[in-house]
Subunit: 306 residues, 2 copies
Amino acid sequence: MKEIKLFAPATIANVSCGFDVLGLCLDTVGDEMIIRKTTKKGVRISKIIGQDLPIETEKNVAGVAVLALLKQLNSDAGFEIEIYKNIKPGSGIGSSAASSAGAVFGVNKLLGEPFTLQELIPFAMEGEKLASGTAHADNVAPALLGGFTLVRSYNPLDVIKMNSPKELFATVIHPQIEIKTADARSVLKKKVTLKETVIQLGNLGGLIAGLYTNDYDLIGRSLHDEIVEPSRSILIPEFDAIIKAAKDAGALGGGISGSGPSIFALSKGKEIADKVALTMAKAYKNLQIDFEIHVSKINTKGIKIL
Amino acid sequence: MKEIKLFAPATIANVSCGFDVLGLCLDTVGDEMIIRKTTKKGVRISKIIGQDLPIETEKNVAGVAVLALLKQLNSDAGFEIEIYKNIKPGSGIGSSAASSAGAVFGVNKLLGEPFTLQELIPFAMEGEKLASGTAHADNVAPALLGGFTLVRSYNPLDVIKMNSPKELFATVIHPQIEIKTADARSVLKKKVTLKETVIQLGNLGGLIAGLYTNDYDLIGRSLHDEIVEPSRSILIPEFDAIIKAAKDAGALGGGISGSGPSIFALSKGKEIADKVALTMAKAYKNLQIDFEIHVSKINTKGIKIL
């Protein structure tokens, strides 16, 4: 195999009560990438269509992720990467993660799979480090593994792929405003009360129990973020109104996608998720806020070869 | 039915990373109770064998729990309760919870089960409130429901019974020292860092995922308490040495049982759990600390009629 074309999915990190540990993979939103073996050693980003992003390998998240992988292998292989970018950077649905994860996935395939999907996570995290200053895994893990993922630990890295109930659908609305990840981080409290922590633990536990038992009501009851959402949601226009509209339309619950500004809702079944999308869209239309909206089942495969 | 005899099990609350939300039910340690319908209205504690505990109904945890149940029913039924107390108060394995849960379970049976097991939890919590000042559910829930339980929320009360891997065994050692729950609470920090919270969330998530997938290694990797154990373990003699000895003997991991001083370890299979017991016992013998020790599978039934 000399060339691979793939779909690199968008992802939702945090997932309400799962701040910095949970992530899920989307199916209908994502980038496309073509990766080609070249005779010239090294990595070249040959094309970026759809977004204005750095094309220099060392400044591109896909570039640095692949460089980390090749360095580990001591490889002198060469690759060129075309990126067809559908996920907007700064949207909060894992734009950098899709590029980083897609690139290492494709290169790994072209090299005959020296690494497992789990082993690719640290390389993709190098892309995240370039994008946001932190080598976090909560977007690259679901992009690579698919489904719902839990980052149990960073030291050592321990990522668990969990069960995804079949009828679970995500609706994601992206208001066309920019929140820098650094800004979204700066509103976070450094300390939380023990009581808030216990509430968050209860809800995370409930959400995970709900995922494994396909208990949609329990998933809904658990989608409550005690710690981060109260501070961070003030950066997102009409956050509370959008969540309320989603729930009124039948969503199980929702929250901020990643560090925002996208807002997600989870629903049982596509019909409700579509209805939730209409209601969320209507709310932003009434406020004359531009937006993009997506409805997607949970993508349990992760990156797909096209 | 005029009389019921039952086994009211000991329980382990917190379970390391599950501070204030997780609990599990033991099988080989517990009280026995005999509850009898009487013609005289009200609740009388007729006998307490094994421990020196208040016999006045309003000062006894079993008494107040049953009074709360009868009040809810507006019932003028009468009961007398004999308690054969094997669980030492203050041991950290749910002594008050066993009495409260056992009493409401038995009375509910004798009344023809007006309440489900879930519905009995709030009554049993009244006993906990009397014992420790806080109406916590993390011991009474596993005592009543069996297995591993999660208190997702107190407001409203939402308790989930989770899966218990079949080969999971607990070893519990109780050093014969007293730690008052109030003292164990007073060493807790009121605030924790966001970083500590995220580590705790990761481990709680890993533990629950491990329970549902019968992944013993994951359970072991997740048995780490970032928040409470560092402060509370200083109240327990040689805590670190006991945990290390347990792990060296093959335990998956362990921690403080409830608010201590009992220490628990979880192991895969009875053979390892027995070996862990020997090792823990040896450590305390060498230090000339008196102790009691128990090995038990996870009791998935909860209270049992004898």
